[in-house]
Symmetry: D2
Subunit: 370 residues, 4 copies
């Protein structure tokens, strides 16, 4: 609730876009892990503004400072405080919008909720808040990798109507990072880049879809009812700015299908039959297809976990738009400045981070469930 | 987590499909509300098996017994215990499947998680668990209606590829309930019914999509980061059995659009300008379009809240399917018995119930936020 | 919060004193444990009214019905619903007190809180609610015993000013149960019994203190800050009806002492030195004294965990008392009927149950902490 | 759990004694409150080391830096990040104790729990962590004062066996702050000061008791079962370093009393009778005595809330003590350096802060309970 997520691996984010800093507290991280700071910074750079000509030119190093919870390079089990200082802050242009509601932004709803609004750079509603999530996600990802053998890869699957066919079983981060769009299919990536440039030239923005796969998760993560793995993933993804849709496995396409086509038939894994007497741990199995996206009844089944997240186009476009001011009178707004024409390339590390936070939590919970 | 949802209006469900009973505890319901038991039973009947020829013929009255929390017809603020006794239980047919994993069911994942599995009727993973959610949702819905003026209407939007165009601003429960498919567009409803019958005759099942609107919610519900209204709704919906996708507002279609087309422009509401001096509560506004689905930055903006939930086809189909047994050996399973060929007509009250649980919680939280 | 306690082993109680039933849901109990129903009933009988001539003669079998979460005798990991039906209910005598506030009862505060009050038998504020805790505590205690080798023994240490000197290292349940006062020191037990009879004859009530020890807990349970083992134990104990004080280890007496007298000096445990190289798990140690009560910095240190809980005298006494009615006018009340003159003999299983709930939760959390 | 406390007013602390900084995140603070930074600093100075000759000479300004959640002086509803930088850090003396367990400190238990230990200044287990609580408590206290008319006053009631008789109805902060012992009874304060000096000269330490009263709380705060006001207060107080006992109202002394003496009889408040028709909000009442300490059935009754917290003597004493090293071998330790001979004068603001955190949370929850 509020600014905390997770049950045993708990992350609380704080900070505004134009405040002095933002960050997060990770509470519940197991002790004794050697924290890979460089891997964290690598993830930060993937989310960072100014990383390519496709994204906003705001200049932020986004270097993470660790204020607690790590001693002689090891996590201690104490809360880990991660801080990112805001450096390239210029609130002056926001001054003229402080008494007007930017269309499809959180301005109006925030003011209706709190009565008060930090109008500088969108305040708490800014996507900049997600920098803290990427930092926390990097810790979660490291834990998942080292202790549980889990790997997470996200990619851009769609920009507008352009769609890349990506195989979750084989896609790698190297393929994704090979192009600034983060689409791992080179020919589609090139088309996407052209489309983003065209949209920018047209003083517009465009939405897209991020795909993500989690490989290596054992069967048994996730809780049967409200803590279903898909429920937590869906909640985590829809907590990202501009996210408006989530699919697990076959998702909406699966809703058009028949059971005979969509059911994932189990098949034996070599040699499992001899090893496992009835009544012990279930044998390792696999499914011929993976329309379930690695989750059945809310619990992982050992197959790759697949998902998709839809992001709407960025609301800030450099065009005159009709709106209303704080007195309720009709007004017009023209927003210029530093903004992304398309958010999805930078959303890839966000989706990965949220997936990591959910799965590490479920993995730790499962440790207490048997 | 686990079997509890909600922060201030907390619902814990319990019970298995073929156990003696199932139910839920509602903890945190405000005191002094006259509980409308008949409205609760009406919702229960909409979820109930055997209600029409389109659904499973299992015979359950699904009458709710209230064991606590209500005194002289009023809620007392104490936990409300709602129990539904299982009457039409026949576990004998499940006996032959106890050592085999039904494809695309939770059997295998459950066993991997817990080592133990109540194989009777799917145990805890059965959709029967949702009866408790409908009962709890009826209480939430009543509270939303009486204290907050909120109304929730769900409908069947798709069965397979058949799609009904439904206007969230005007659809009513009467229109929805006029046809056993719960599709409010009569001609499409008739086609859907024919399709479901055809699928059943073909010993198959089919998926679909449920749409839902929440009307009357004021601006200001939902929390800015992890408690975004959409995040909680997405999590709630994906916790429903067979749910595999969620959209808020324009959802995945919006991800193909440009900002200039998708932005919801604010416009004044008559007479608001005179009433509200700058700095007080924001004026009432509306948006020309509602692609945001009533939620911006995770917070309600006063427009109707719209969403869609994708359900995969029911996994149980009366056909021989390949699978694996508990020793890990290849096997074949043929499931016969009482099952729905299409779950979405009965899923409508589930989606409404989950929406009610999320929104009542956010409404109560907001009471403490200013 | 509200009616739920615990983080991973979560217990939610429900039910009123004079409603049809009361019970609890245990969510998060590990799967695969053979539930010892007879041990649970044995604990229920120790709490039960009418068990001896020292306590209230209300006749309740307090037989626990298990409605979910157990299959073929084993816990399944699903929520365990435990129900106790109220049988010997007579609300008629409470009718005359429904518009008056019983002194030192929860009547007035409840009404101020909720506006509504179930006046029958004290409703939710009745000590009868603790029957559900004892049932849940029995499950927790069994888990602690079987998986963690932990044993919990409570006893009556004081009735009024009479005090028994009890050695936490050696006291057994058999010694405690040997006398209806549950004081394990026979000569003091006899004095206590006489005092309780005298107090009853004097139409009065009297308070007392329950001591409790947890033996066998390994070092490392409890969390360093807000989740300190003592903090959770204190919170759990003060949630019991009539509990007004808590001590861990030396408690208030320790506050009068000097560090040189109160510090618990560590000493080696035989053979530990050879086994444990520096940097691995710390060696087994013990302390010469145990003024810390087995908890240092909020974390168990492997020594017996000792605590004491103070209970005020039962508020219901069969004497005329001044009070105020619901209109705010001065009034007089004379309460007659079935009540305990001294609650502490029946409070012993309550203290043990709460200790079990706290410790099983900490043990499960620790499983996820390294 | 872990490092977070509170349900709606949620505080997460982080930071080690000898790390670069410590602090806390307050999540859920209502928006629109003008934050009184000077009042916060005043509380910080009361907890600060080096404030008088009775306490440790470590030199810390303990100035709080606000990194988020406040805009133009007003709380925004976003998380408030409060940071205190550690300046006077010298870890060198701890180096020699890194492989040995200080008696009655958290060293051994921490290492048993986490396998890793930040030995510099006690790390996370240091009482320095409470600086963050005092900062958070100052915000809570301000909210309680401005919105709810609540005032909190703590005092030193005992040092060793020296006890001051303090009237909770009339004690003021000015009286408390008039003497460095924080005992509001001058003659006892002088004796306490002499005792502390004597103990210090004797290279020893001594425990004590802090009393606290909350005045102005309306009836109706606190939840009937696990969220009883006393349960939350007890848990909060026992989460303080060195706290080993808690009493609400008459506490342990009340356990020796009879009901006829301890019951708090209600009496009318002038003019209440005319105002309140039966069935509406209950009339204002008062009790002749206040042995209940303002809480009945776990819910506030409108009378002053009184409590007492026992603190053991500081474990660090400048004497040679027997102990065990990390290999499990017998060893001797002599700790010299900067430490308090008696913690209770500095514990007064801690007890007040924890009381404020609990009560503001209950007040906000109650807003959602009717």
């Amino acid at each position: 609730m509020f600014s905390t997520t997770g049950h045993l691996f708990r992350v609380t984010t704080w900070g505004e876009s134009h405040g002095p800093a933002l960050g997060c507290t990770i509470d519940g991280c197991p002790a004794g892990m050697r924290l890979d700071v460089e891997a964290m910074q690598a993830d930060m750079r993937r989310r960072r503004p100014g990383q390519s000509k496709l994204v906003t030119p705001r200049k932020e190093d986004d270097e993470v400072e660790i204020l607690s919870g790590v001693f002689e390079g090891l996590t201690t089990g104490a809360p880990i405080q991660l801080v990112v200082w805001n450096r390239d802050v210029d609130s002056s242009k926001y001054l003229k919008w402080k008494d007007i509601y930017r269309p499809s932004h959180a301005d109006y709803a925030t003011e209706a909720k709190f009565g008060v609004r930090d109008w500088r750079g969108g305040g708490r509603a800014s996507a900049r808040e997600t920098a803290a999530r990427v930092a926390a996600g990097a810790v979660a990802r490291q834990l998942l990798g080292e202790r549980f053998g889990v790997e997470i890869v996200g990619w851009v699957e769609k920009v507008g109507a352009l769609r890349a066919e990506v195989d979750p079983a084989t896609v790698t981060r190297a393929l994704v990072e090979a192009h600034p769009t983060r689409c791992p299919v080179p020919e589609v990536a090139a088309q996407m880049e052209a489309l983003i440039q065209e949209v920018r030239a047209d003083r517009d923005s465009i939405g897209g879809v991020v795909g993500c796969v989690v490989r290596g998760a054992v069967a048994g993560w996730g809780e049967p009812v409200f803590g279903k793995a898909e429920a937590l993933l869906a909640g985590a993804m829809l907590s990202l700015p501009a996210a408006k849709g989530f699919e697990s496995g076959a998702g909406f396409a699966g809703a058009e299908a028949r059971g005979s086509a969509l059911n994932d038939l189990f098949e034996p894994v070599e040699s499992a039959a001899e090893e496992a007497p009835v009544g012990s741990r279930p044998p390792a199995v696999r499914t011929r297809t993976n329309h379930s996206g690695g989750i059945q009844g809310g619990i992982t089944n050992g197959m790759p976990i697949t998902m998709r997240v839809a992001f709407k186009p960025v609301a800030t476009i450099p065009r005159a738009q009709a709106t209303v001011d704080r007195r309720g009178a009709a007004a017009e707004i023209l927003m210029t400045g530093r903004h992304d024409p398309c958010v999805v390339p930078r959303a890839v590390p966000l989706v990965e981070a949220m997936a990591a936070l959910v799965l590490v939590d479920l993995a730790l919970i499962q440790a207490a469930r048997r």
